[in-house]
Amino acid sequence: MFDLEFFRINTGSGYWDPILWIFAFIIILVIVYVIRNLGKKDFKKSGEKSKVFLSGNPEYDKEQMHIKGSNLYWGFTESMKWLYDILNRFHTGNVSDYVLWFVVVMAALFIVMTISGGI
């Protein structure tokens, strides 16, 4: 007998069943494929409509058009610059600072223990 429990994990308030998920995923893929096939079939890739338009600027070689890693999420990192400035200040690369943080955590734990009524 096919035992569904074999695949499931109970998460406390529900369950997670990867096999069921895969079935659902395949069904969704089939639906997507069907919808895609409903599209126009007379579209041709050649001609003016498939040419790249860069606001009138010339198109560079394909190799030069690749967006580099440092350009990705530029908007996010720029808007979160204040946070990155703080984090960068902590990440000094100086091993003395690394040890300092160890001392800070130890001191914080002493305070935690004191608050909790231990020490």
Binding site: I9, T11, P18, W21, G69, S70, Y84, Y98, S116
Partner: protein
């Protein structure tokens, strides 16, 4: 069923002795031939792995604890009230062997990968010697039942790891990372030693079971020892804000060593769990009303650990997002994953509560059911993290092997020439980001749900961190694998077969665990969680009825 040529009680010590013996033999075998040496190192770890898996089936199936006593037949000297557990011994329960499985998988895969990855390097006799020493150190840390012995293995692991981080001695950043690692490792180990000295001074014992049985009233010395042990081991586990050595070491070591460093870091994390739940089990696990005064301490300490977990997740992903060095990016992502693991530990302690009657008198102490689920998620995530992070480091190594590039800005279009590596990267990407149906999701969903019951905010941060992890690796996928072939990478070829096999083995494990999470949870994770939460069994295995 024992079909091994040695009695089963010798297996724990053989798991440490075989790689240790292999380490000393490696320079000699290296004189014969480089290929023989490489195969020898892989075989040694294969045999050790076989013994670990054999022992794990025995322990998980029969729910038993294996002990091996050095220089004697009995765990104790003397009898009755004058019985002392002063011998050095190994004590292997489900938790220890579960972690040993993880450590041996990463060590074996890392060594197999090294076969081709390090082929053109010199000084490989030292490299393989150090790998075997590091494996012996990790195994010792995970299997020993003696605290001083633990310190010795901690040092063996730390020294060999630092030397391996700095293996590419001609690269200045590698040497710097190795230097930082040894400083942090030595300071951490010295504080562990100080804590052990205090314990010995206080209780005249170094055996973990004896100490676990003795630490009951949580006096001032006990608390200072806990602070020293927790801080030192948490630093070695890379918990924020003591994590800064981790991206340096992971990022600059050869990829085959980065995956092993994951094992070493997780061994320190194991020690954090062991200290809190075994050594201080009578303080933090007890639901006896006599331990009422410790509930607040557990709650506040748990809250502090949850805070560290949240910081670890957030700092990890935020810093990962802006990295352009691929291995450094993965290292920060690995840091975020550590946050998920300690979250379960924090939840367990923070949620401990007291039940009062109508007159306001405390009648019992309760550990809510979801705290056990949180711990299950954490332990399961330790396994998943080792595999997912390990696979991504190996992919980063494969890219470096093929292109000699580490910066994402210098990469592009690699999927056209490195099809298998691309597939392995995608598997690692989805697994690490907690995307269904891979293994990372299975453990993270348990953590999300249990964290939600403690505080919805913590759960939201955990989910947000996973989404940001996905964003990090989508960036890598786009900039390294997609797009047109870059002019300087036109002649890039797929990596050698042994490297593909090493990555393939991890990818298969990730898929299997992802599709059948229940198989792993029922047969390995739950016995492990039971072992963690039942320190009485750990104590009884050495000194009888505790």
């Amino acid at each position: 069923m024992n079909f091994l040529p040695v009695p089963p009680e010798y297996i724990p010590v053989l798991i440490v002795a075989i790689p240790l013996f292999g380490a000393f033999l490696t320079p000699i075998i290296s004189r014969i031939n480089g290929k023989v040496r490489n195969i020898f190192a892989i075989s040694i770890l294969g045999i050790t792995g076989f013994l670990v898996f054999w022992l794990s089936t025995e322990i998980f199936t029969n729910n038993m604890i294996y002990t091996y006593v050095f220089g004697g037949d009995s765990n104790v000297i003397g009898s009755g009230n004058s019985a002392y557990a002063i011998r050095i011994l190994f004590e292997v329960d489900s938790f220890g062997i579960f972690m040993a499985i993880i450590a041996i998988i990463v060590a074996f895969i890392g060594t197999l990968y090294s076969y081709s990855y390090m082929k053109k390097e010199t000084g490989l006799d030292k490299y393989y010697t150090l790998i075997l020493l590091m494996t012996a150190g990790m195994m010792g840390m995970l299997l020993t039942g003696d605290l001083f012995n633990f310190f010795v293995f901690l040092e063996i692991t730390g020294i060999s790891s630092a030397a391996l981080v700095a293996f590419w001695i001609d690269k200045k950043y590698a040497v710097e990372a190795g230097f930082k690692y040894i400083i942090i490792s030595a300071i951490g180990a010295l504080f562990v030693l100080l804590a052990i000295a205090l314990l010995y001074g206080q209780y005249n014992a170094l055996n973990m079971s004896v100490l676990a049985n003795t630490i009951t009233n949580f006096n001032l010395i006990d608390q200072i020892i806990l602070i020293l042990l927790f801080s030192a081991l948490a630093m070695k586990a890379g918990i924020v804000p003591m994590h800064m050595w981790l991206p340096d070491a992971y990022g600059r070591a050869p990829a085959s060593i980065s995956i092993m460093l994951v094992g070493a870091t997780l061994s320190s994390l194991y020690a954090v769990f062991r200290v809190i739940f075994t050594l201080y089990g009578k303080v933090f696990l007890s639901v006896s009303i006599q331990t009422l005064e410790f509930v607040t301490t557990a709650n506040i300490l748990g809250g502090f650990i949850v805070l560290l977990a949240v910081l670890t997740m957030l700092v990890g992903v935020i810093m990962a997002l802006k990295q352009n060095n691929l291995k450094r990016l993965i290292a920060f992502a690995a840091l975020a994953e550590i946050g998920y693991m300690i979250l379960g530990l924090g939840i367990r302690l923070a949620a401990k509560s007291v039940i009062y009657d109508t007159e306001g008198t405390a009648i019992s102490i309760l550990n809510p059911a979801y705290t056990q689920a949180a711990l299950t998620g954490s332990i399961f995530h330790i396994l998943n993290d080792a595999l997912d992070v390990g696979l991504l480091f190996l992919v980063a190594g494969a890219i470096y092997y093929a292109t000699k590039e580490t910066s994402l800005d210098r990469m592009g279009g690699l999927a056209r020439n490195m099809k298998y590596t691309t597939i392995f990267f995608l598997i690692g990407l989805f697994a690490m980001s907690g995307m269904p149906p891979l293994n990372g999701f299975a453990s993270k969903i348990i953590i999300y749900e249990s964290a939600y019951q403690l505080s919805p905010l913590v759960s939201i941060i955990a989910i947000l961190s996973s989404i940001m992890l996905l964003a990090c690796f989508v960036k890598v996928f786009h900039s390294a694998f997609l797009g047109p072939k870059q002019p300087h990478l036109k002649n890039v070829k797929e990596v050698p077969k042994t490297m593909l096999v090493a990555m393939g083995l991890i990818a298969i494990l990730i898929i299997i665990i992802g599709l059948f999470p229940n198989l792993v949870i029922e047969n390995a994770v739950k016995p492990t969680v039971d072992a963690i939460l039942n320190n009485t069994a750990y104590i009884s295995a050495i000194i009888g009825g505790a």
